[in-house]
Symmetry: C2
Subunit: 320 residues, 2 copies
């Protein structure tokens, strides 16, 4: 078999794996409603601005159909929430595909439980914002409401890897009509492994029966490839590589860039990810650092500026 045929064959294998994944997944709830919301959102924004789909938070892989146990990926959703704010500032409309209960845009400076921690009763048994939080709370509510009510921010929640990939596919299909003016900014921590729905036990795994629990998970099909090739071939695609071991990070990011034909891979190391990231493209590796002298001193500020510029160049080069 020559190389081209080999690639074609592996493309076929992947498509078959993807088909199996989706065929076996439990049907997405409210899928009609989601599609309708998406189409309205894209139609409203497509002529005036670029649209980015930001994915955020970790996906779960259930171990039982009536799910009690699942494998989860650590991700607070801080990166996705923060990036969404800067994308809005940069003039994008944002589809925010997020894990339930992960960080929300405009809310990342608030404590875990803002209602209980930022408010208190006053003398008339009414409630008021605690002074230390008054500005933060007001800004969060006003900015969030402005973006959502203004039709610039569409929020879609998920829990499982099944929901996430079904929704990502739906979003990609809906965004095809805007061609290269679409961006995918895939910051979610997506499960690499899952238990196929049909192989899952229905009831809770019984603990008494064994001293050892042996969970066998299979690899989730490489959906980044499918997104790029089949779902959204014209969109500008950014993926993320998070590692705890800095020695292997840049190599892994470079490999992902090539394997999935991403336009850029953002490489970040767990312990320094809020200070700096490296944007890896086929042409260069650009280190982006947070600028402590600015008031918007997040690493996402220069990161989104850089990606927005690269996206503009990409649109120009696409000749539209």
């Amino acid at each position: 078999m020559d190389a081209a045929k080999g690639l074609e064959a592996s493309g076929e294998t992947l498509r078959a794996e993807v088909k199996t994944f989706f065929d076996s997944a439990p049907p997405l709830q409210n899928s009609d409603e989601i599609t309708q919301k998406l189409n309205q959102f894209i139609q409203r924004n497509s002529s005036a601005r670029r649209i980015v789909c930001v994915t955020s938070g970790g996906t779960t892989a259930p171990l039982e159909q009536r799910c009690v146990r699942y494998v989860d990926n650590f991700s607070s959703g801080h990166r996705g929430a923060t990036s969404t704010e800067y994308f809005l500032k940069a003039g994008y409309a944002v589809i925010f595909l997020y894990r339930k209960r992960s960080f929300q845009p405009f809310c990342r400076s608030l404590p875990d439980d803002p209602l209980l921690e930022c408010f208190k009763p006053n003398h008339e048994s009414n409630i008021q914002v605690c002074e230390a939080y008054s500005e933060t709370v007001k800004r969060a509510i006003v900015d969030h409401h402005t973006a959502v009510a203004g039709g610039l921010l569409l929020k879609l929640p998920f829990n499982t890897i099944f929901e996430y990939l079904q929704m990502l596919q739906t979003i990609a299909m809906s965004m095809r009509c805007i061609g290269p003016r679409a961006m995918f900014y895939l910051a979610a921590a997506v499960s690499d492994y899952y238990v196929p729905w049909k192989e899952m036990v229905e009831h809770k795994i019984q603990s008494g029966s064994s001293h050892l629990l042996d969970v066998k998970l299979v690899q989730v099909p490489k959906m980044l490839s499918v997104l790029r090739k089949d779902w959204a071939p014209l969109a500008f695609c950014i993926s993320f590589k998070l590692e705890t071991d800095s020695n292997i990070l840049l190599n892994k990011a470079g490999a992902a860039l090539e394997k999935y034909k991403m336009h850029a891979v953002v490489a970040n190391e767990l312990s320094t990810r809020k200070e700096q990231v490296v944007v890896v493209t086929s042409a260069e590796k650009v280190t982006v650092q947070r600028d402590k002298s600015l008031s918007d001193n997040d690493v996402e500020n220069p990161l989104i500026k850089l990606l927005s510029e690269k996206h503009a160049t990409y649109i120009e080069d696409s000749g539209r």
Copy 2:
């Protein structure tokens, strides 16, 4: 070996397993501060009221030391949060040991993201509560604040199985001084299996290397036994049994009662758990149902009444 010796030997094995678990666990953060808060709380309340430790939400079992992936147990924390409200009404002081970001007492009627969903900007760019939520939000903040500021509710958060069990032990030790007037109401969904800290890989498990992920977890030592026998031998102890299969539920609850020498086991089935539960004791099985005619129409209302009565009898019988 006769039966008594057999029991003794299995007790010894369990103690050895427990020691291994705690010796290998990462040290608990802020343990001095937690102990100090606990002692103050118990001292303040011990003469005037009974004290219950309510555990709530699911524990995680990390798969990597620098945790990216973990096995999680589904539990919203609804049962623990609701029960806490009724324990406070019944005159208890409550130590609420809860999973971070799970339901909080007095907040269960609020949407997932109460700050963003219950508030909106008004014309002067100030914020106000949306009318539909004004009473719920006010009650949540006032009632929660009253309980915490009044010194009747102490909240201690956890994430991992290591943190949970270390804190449960600390709480049990601190509560020994009040003897049978202590109650443990163990509603948390505790991992049955975990990866011992020292056997865990340090860095993120690499996904490229294999088509299959085989996770081997070992059983968490049966801490309920240790809590009853060693940590808090005089306290009144309630555990929970949740199953998705109603056919095995009552048998499992009865077995747990006997095995761990609980004073009662609350049996609940996943799909009907907000409607009814069965309280299993050595003497009887009492079905408790929510009373839709009451304004406090949660199943936890009659449940906590029943348990509070049983606890009162237990204290009397203990001769104090």
